[in-house]
Amino acid sequence: MAEETESTKTEPLKTAEEEFKKLEITEEEESELKLETSDHVTFMVEASIAMKFGAVQQYLEVSPAASASATAIPLHNVASRELILILEYYRMHDWVDAGERDLKEFDERFLKDLNYEELKELLLAANYLNVEKLFNFLTKSIANIIRNKDVEFVRTFFGIDNDYTPEEEAAYREENAWAGVKFV
């Protein structure tokens, strides 16, 4: 699989032989697809990565001509900053030389750089694009964040309004006190 110049920034120095091999691969000129985000930024993305997006696959099934033509495939619910993150994630995870430890470190750093709002936006973008690996990574990460949090934190995180009456809520908290709800 071809490597993008962006992902090579973090690579350790390579031997001349490896560099040579890489040149050979890039010379094959992998085909690219043009994607347009909701804020009207166009991206040229390697087909090998773009075809991992369920939304792109679906679009091409309906209008196969788009793969060859200059028309951009519109991604209505993905902004450019989310697409940049998604591409960063997939380029790293597609990189053949990435070891298990590299990926773990990358995932940790990737997650650390996101605040809760960005994390939710990325989750919605991944859901819209139908990108399984990233979607599972994000849902798993959010599950880890809320695992030991209290009800108020979770309401705020998901932007959920409390629709219990104070009496109903008190009753539920009482009933499930053993599971750690009895604060407030």
Binding site: E121, I146, R147, V154
Partner: protein, 364 residues
Amino acid sequence: MVDGKREEEFIPLDVVMNILKRLPVKSLIRLKCVSKEWLKVLDGNHYFTQEHLRHSAHNNAFLLLQRIPRQPRPLPFSSCLIAPDATLVHPLFTHIAAKIVASCNGLLCLRDKTHLSLFNPATRQIKHLPPTTLFGFHYVGFGFSPASNDYKIVRISMCVFDQLDQVLILDDVRVDRAQVYSLATGSWREIDAVNLRPLCLVSSSVSTAGTIFWLATMASDSDADSEFVVSFDIGRESFALLNGPPLPPSPTLPYSNVLAVCNDKLAMFRHYIIGIFESCCFDLWVLEDVHTHTHTRARESWVKMEELSRHDYRGLETVLSLFNPLTNELKKLPAHTHDFCYVPFTYSESLVPLHNINSPSTLH
């Protein structure tokens, strides 16, 4: 911060469920208080319960060990959970007087003398079953039928007590009657066990893919070497008799059979003992297919998996170990084998409710 296109972030419920299915049951019970919509999802929603169970069984399967004191008896049993990496997780519960009979989808079937209960340790729900009219010595099986979306318990009584002469008959123990309890209906009913009458059950049950299995032999010892598997179709409530794997060519080492589940299929370990427990080796057989499912003999195909290597017992005290047949790895578990014996079950926690289960349409 955002470019104005999404003032209000709204995470769709199916995405929320995908996050929630990854949480332990205790967290989910706490989160019932978030909103009424979440309560609907977390309190018995069939789809979510199944999704959570699938995730839990796939990612958080534990070995559950029931600890039974060697003496004095009777004493409360206790249990512990062992994670896949052989570390002790935590005691599941410490003081129950009941013995675990079977474990399925996060539910445990417990027996306390003659009383049976279903227990979900994760949600702490318990359901005591009404007493049955079957008396005496009996075998119990427990499992789930995806076809009828129901959990059932089967009780098979063995004929050991002659009602007329009021004596115990120990030289001709055989199956007598059977009753089945459905969690959906909440009641017992008698089922036909006539085709099991010539048999004597000799193992506890295992359950997979809507069927419960026991090992059996012919009650009359004319054909002492014969081995059978009794299967119970949980949805159809019918018994069938299957042949065991082909017998080893004689003369053979002494061996014993243990039923197990391997990739959702019935499996049987044939455990050969060499010398006076000096070492042992195993065959693992898997029941790949049963062709006809009538109430008489079925044609079954047992496939022998790799013959597992020989293990040297010499110089070893009684130990409790986890053995991985694929990697040939043997891991010692933390155990006090002098004081307790251990009965293993698989366990993964679930939200499966013990009340208000929707009555499936296939019943009644």
